[in-house]
């Protein structure tokens, strides 16, 4: 009887150790890759790997609430936001590898080693001990216990959080807002521009008549040459400019000559919010 219980807890702790070391290797590798990979999108994906493994590590420490919040808030919301902005900035945007400050990388490496030594010494000196047997507020009862804590001891910080969130939402709206300088093109204007452009039909979607219909595959023209303009600008790796939108709408020269009198022509087809 006693031996059986011990064996079960042994198996559980071995499984925990295996999961921990696996996730430790995965997350540290992904974090290193995040620092080393030049392309920002790969960084975002690697960050998702780190965050998901951290969520599993939370679950491993009997914190199921935080594990779920980690997946929903970080992997779901924050990383989606990052990817949205990356799509606007241009998905193929690469970091330049030129050092602008001389010796910055060496200095950063030295600082990192110093920080690592400092933190390791601090953690090493602290008496961490072993984990106690999980109390009643860990595991299945965790959500209830956290709710009790948040709404009693931490109720004031929790309320202040709402002010912070409202301020953040307002700030984002103010910062991302752009004044409209030109009148908005109506559907009538757009169709007039399209007819005037000499190509009333829209461009083929990416991948039309090409080998496969992936979104980054340019459509083939009747003579077999690829039409690069059918691939969305963000995928092509260039930030989308009003000029490119106009190119997608029709030939730019024709559109410019046919632009509305009140329209400066440079902002045609540009939305108020991006």
């Amino acid at each position: 009887m006693h031996g059986g219980v011990l064996a079960i807890s042994d198996v559980a702790s071995t499984t925990q150790q295996i999961i921990f070391w696996l996730l430790a290797v995965v997350s540290v590798t992904a974090a290193l890759g995040m620092v080393l990979v030049p392309r920002a999108v790969y960084c975002a994906v690697l960050l998702a790997v780190v965050m998901l493994s951290l969520a599993v590590l939370y679950a491993l420490q009997n914190a199921p609430f935080l594990a779920f919040v980690q997946v929903i808030v970080y992997t779901g919301a924050v990383l989606m936001l990052f990817l949205f902005v990356l799509m606007i900035v241009g998905i193929r945007a690469k970091d330049s590898l030129v050092e602008t400050i001389k010796g910055q990388r060496v200095a950063a490496g030295l600082a990192a080693i110093g920080l690592l030594v400092l933190l390791s010494l601090t953690v090493g000196h602290a008496v961490l001990g072993t984990a106690p047997v999980a109390g009643p507020s860990f595991g299945a009862n965790n959500v209830y216990a956290i709710a009790k804590l948040i709404f009693t001891t931490y109720v004031f910080p929790f309320e202040v959080t709402s002010a912070l969130l409202i301020t953040a939402a307002l700030g984002a709206m103010v910062l991302a807002h752009r004044e409209r300088l030109t009148p908005k093109l109506t559907q009538r204007d757009l169709s007039r521009l399209r007819v005037a452009s000499g190509r009333p039909a829209p461009l083929a979607g990416p991948g039309t008549y090409a080998r496969h219909n992936a979104v980054d595959m340019p459509a083939l023209l009747p003579d077999g040459t690829p039409a690069e303009s059918t691939v969305p600008a963000a995928i092509r790796g260039v930030p989308e400019t009003p000029d490119q939108r106009r190119t997608l709408l029709g030939s730019s020269a024709v559109v410019r000559s046919a632009a509305m009198p009140g329209d400066s022509g440079t902002e045609a087809g540009q939305d108020g919010d991006a």
Partner: protein, 99 residues
């Protein structure tokens, strides 16, 4: 599993995030590295909560997550405002105040 292992992993992740902030030029990537540092600290908080057997550490980690979400929203909005005017997300290009 002793909490020391989790804290050690948190230390390593924190240092990697700090290196990323120091080395990278793209403002987006710098932001992601800051997020990595916040996550590492959260891991340490959760480990300490388990070590002491009370939930305060988990609640603080929860608040860190809330603040991080708000920070990302405002930060990315600033980044987009800069990108809209300067057509670049590199931190080296936002140097107008220097001259």
């Amino acid at each position: 599993m002793s909490p020391g292992n989790f804290v050690a992993l948190a230390v390593v992740l924190f240092v990697i995030g700090a290196v990323g902030v120091l080395v990278r030029r793209n403002a987006m990537v710098i932001f992601m590295c800051v997020e990595l540092m916040l996550n590492a600290v959260n891991l340490a908080f959760v480990a300490f909560a388990r070590m002491h057997g009370n939930l305060d550490g988990q609640v603080i980690a929860f608040f860190v997550m809330v603040v991080a979400a708000a920070e990302v929203v405002v930060g990315l909005a600033i980044l987009m405002a800069i990108f809209r005017t300067r057509r670049s997300a590199s931190v080296d290009d936002a140097s107008l105040l220097k001259y």
